[in-house]
Subunit: 414 residues, 2 copies
Amino acid sequence: MTSLEDAPDREGASSHLPARQDRGSTEGREARPAPEADRLARAALTRVLEPGDDVAGAWLRRMGPVALWRSLLGDGDPPEGAGEAKIAGLRLRAEAVSPEADLDAATALGGRFVCPGDEEWPQQLDDLGDARPVGLWVRGRANLRLWALRSVALVGARACTEYGAHVAGTLGAGLAERGWSVVSGAAYGVDGAAHRGTLAAGGPTVAVLASGVDHIYPSGHTELIGRIAEQGLIIAELPPGAHPTASRFIQRNRVIAALTRGTVVVEAALRSGSLATARRAAELGRFTMGVPGPVTSGLSAGVHQLLRGEAVLVASAAEVVELVGSIGDLAPAARGPVLARDLLDPVATRLLEALPLRGAIDASKIARDSGTALEVTQAKLFELQALGFVQRCGTRWELLPGAHSAGGYRRGGP
Amino acid sequence: MTSLEDAPDREGASSHLPARQDRGSTEGREARPAPEADRLARAALTRVLEPGDDVAGAWLRRMGPVALWRSLLGDGDPPEGAGEAKIAGLRLRAEAVSPEADLDAATALGGRFVCPGDEEWPQQLDDLGDARPVGLWVRGRANLRLWALRSVALVGARACTEYGAHVAGTLGAGLAERGWSVVSGAAYGVDGAAHRGTLAAGGPTVAVLASGVDHIYPSGHTELIGRIAEQGLIIAELPPGAHPTASRFIQRNRVIAALTRGTVVVEAALRSGSLATARRAAELGRFTMGVPGPVTSGLSAGVHQLLRGEAVLVASAAEVVELVGSIGDLAPAARGPVLARDLLDPVATRLLEALPLRGAIDASKIARDSGTALEVTQAKLFELQALGFVQRCGTRWELLPGAHSAGGYRRGGP
């Protein structure tokens, strides 16, 4: 799963590693294998670099994470072409950073830190170039990469109308029923309605935060974000404890746009952040969609402006899927698995064995028959769908034709 | 104003005229000049041919109206390639026709019959090819050609929602305030709201009927259609007294589409007549526009389907005008007159003299100062706008820069 772009990072990490033995403050790192040094350096960098900083991203690409981090700790020359004031500011921040403590904090939350090159890294984020996240802090059971393969962003106004909330909730549920993940920003209004609609349909939803994964914002969404962490995924570029800022909200939107196959705007005033997300999606070659509304509402104006330009009008989840499902380059076609069955983990294998050869059954029956917790079952089934083993039909699941033969999978056979 | 296409008709009429002296039933026609014979034949044909019959339209183009009419009266060979059953049916209809009586009936209603080649003929109807109307029966004061130069069609569902009626009324008023004529079909729902909104703003509105101009349909719109006849224009392809039929409604829509620079659909279910009008407009190279609505309404579905295809999303009269006003080939630019002032009629001249050299005034003051009835004043001012002498600013009117010099127009000068 290592992309070509990651290779220099790894090499940089290995070649620079011995030089770090002289630094008391990084004791213990040198004992780890190169990928772990890489991971620690990236974790540290998420606390020092602001999301979306493509100047620092270029340093990271050229130097590799370990050398860049060492440089920010004052060990070695500053990055080539770096401004003095910027370097001084970053070095001041770097002094107090303890990536081990951040990684421990994430683990305590049941979370993890996912880096470029990891199996779970969503490679479509590489489209952000030097503004690609340094790494992603993740809470939740599911595999982020697999969920994101079939995902759509639903965004819109915080102060949405009843109509906007209704539409967002209906689209979230409809996308879930069609086996698509719904990505949003956990904000009030359209974001919240989209997450809730997806959760209510037992579907996969991903909240991308502009703070650390443990810093709940807005506080009114404490319960909702808790449910997403249980049933879905919470992800953030910033390390645990980090607070959101205005620019972090803006940069968060680029992750939502890049992670998904398309962005749907439900209600948005002119010059709103949701429009910026949609335009970013268009720049990244993703689908840009808008749900129209009454022309008498100011919250329709931004969406309608988008629909007069780059966006396609969508009125239902079926229309969204018809559009974003038309490209087959990110996810395997719904015709059977592309991965050998032998490579699946034991839980996935157990779930596949609980599915009948013909016909569809409820996730709750699959959970019971396989002896797996319902939430684990649901998260895993959406991963298996992304891998082409199963498909969702409304609220039920069925095996896809090729699921038996792939990797020699047989059930009840001789 | 005679187009090249009309010339053969005229010649055909003159050359065939003497031969008609032997027909008792057409007594008196031969005494008229050729254009009058032509006009009488066309008036007769509107009672015999169904609107939109492009087979008969091809006969008309090849034979001219007088020869075709004679042929349908059994005088001469049937049109080349005509089916026997069709000819027999048309001849049966032709027996009882008295175009003189129809023209007299129109005159009694304060109406007239406008033919291709007449100064008042809207030449954009020629885009319909052989399906061009044979002629148009017209009620109302204004000059149809001038009003139609700057016109937009507003169409939509008969059983529209409050939202649709509100939007249609607002668009009608907004278009009128910007000096545009609103064309619709006088039906219940969106059509009625569009006419009413335009009338309420003192604007020019044209109702295209699928019956004779004196046959009010629907009967619930008796008062509305009466007001349109007073303040606007009522036009029809069918002669006085004719009833509407399903196919006549469909054919009426092609006239709405062809007459205007663009068609706006306000609310429409899937597979509705309004969508057919909009698609016809697109085929004719006119602008096709749709006003979006809540995706939760079935009456938005047709419009949204259109917006996913050929139509442009519009949310206000300003956006409609921005689009349709961008082509300058039909109407003179709003920079001054293209016609010498000497060629204007006395009423128009009087109205221009009542306008101040600078600044805008209400139509009611222009009417008072010039001693002209308000309704005549309003109708004539929109004609003068189409000719480039004046422009409307909200509810007021002002002279355009070149209005003084054109044709040596001076006021109060030596």
